[in-house]
Subunit: 212 residues, 2 copies
């Protein structure tokens, strides 16, 4: 019955469970039974659990990063054409906004975000490498574009500030939805557009801050 879509079913369940419970805390038995497929199907279609994780990343990251790259280079090109510096806010928005649109389009993608957030802090180097293989070229492009936008800062300064920015973004993606501690007087809007604006205010100010 479910011949061709078995791979998709596995990918969907893996994305959801890896994002919610973590990679190591998700067993292939729980995953395959959640997907309604046989236990051996993972190893047959993907080869191993790690290769499945790789496929999960690839399915989302390849189209998403293509859009991000296009938007980053559009910002770069527009600035070069107008003979001005690219704005740090435009650069960062070009990197962040596609994630937002992408999550509205693809169903189930919201459970992908925590997975990305955790990959940044992953202790297991094998897992981290799988993620960074897709992200490293884009991080470098983002870094170089930020260096163009902020010529008054040293490359070392920009590197660390980008590092903080990635940390803030990753942590936000990790906590997507479930919050344990909510101080009184704080509404948890979960309005993605609002949250993106608050995030952008923060990281743009941090990026453009004067050095002490």
């Amino acid at each position: 019955m479910s011949r061709a879509d078995t791979k998709e079913r596995i990918l969907d369940a893996a994305e959801r469970l890896f994002g919610a419970e973590g990679f190591h805390n998700t067993s292939l038995r729980g995953l395959t039974s959640a997907a309604g497929v046989n236990l051996a199907a993972v190893n047959y279609h993907f080869g191993s659990k790690e290769a499945l994780l790789e496929a999960v990343f690839e399915r989302r990251l390849v189209p998403l990063n293509r859009v991000r790259r296009e938007r980053l280079e559009a910002v770069r090109e527009a600035a070069r054409r107008d003979r001005v510096l690219p704005g740090a806010a435009d650069v960062l928005r070009a990197f962040i906004e596609p994630t937002l649109h992408f999550c509205k389009m693809e169903p189930g993608a919201e459970s992908f975000l925590p997975l990305v957030g955790r990959a940044l802090a992953e202790p297991d180097d094998t897992i981290r490498k799988i993620f960074l293989r897709h992200m490293e070229p884009l991080f470098l492009l983002l870094y170089e574009t930020l260096c163009e936008a902020l010529p008054r800062l040293s490359r070392t300064q920009i590197f660390w500030r980008l590092h903080f920015t990635i940390g803030a973004m990753g942590h936000t993606m990790c906590m997507n939805g479930r919050f344990k501690i909510l101080p009184p007087g704080v509404e948890t809007p979960s309005d993605a557009a609002f949250l993106t604006q608050v995030l952008l205010d923060y990281i743009v100010a941090g990026m453009e801050a004067p050095c002490a």
Copy 2:
């Protein structure tokens, strides 16, 4: 031979391995053989692997958080005495600087930092709870003090900006030392004082940023 210090040996090895390899990736067999103690010693002295993690957190976090609390309340008190608002930079420095001094004093504490950084992104709720039990009261105090320092911002705004700040700090602690991707032209100083200053410049600007 190693009567009383067996517990300490286990705690030291656990701190190092949990920080470097992660909690779930560290087996009790590897841990006890690294500590030079018997496999059963962990369950004898601590009861379980999770209780050991709790003890690892407690040993460092209790004294560290006491200092942080004192410094936060000193900033608060000084502002109240002078009838001025506490400065956001002073508040954040009161929270961050003790970590720096604490890591210089206690040997092996630098491997504790990645453990803290990862606890924030931990998918396993049991582990997260153990960490948050020590941190939540202090996060709340930090949050309230920041609300005093930044009365022009809504509590929701400050909540999210503190959230980003914690993410930036956690990610920095995770990457303490080992870096995979280093763009050309970036020196990796690892000078903790310098890094703290760069971090403070960033998060203070992010905290004080105007709302768009």
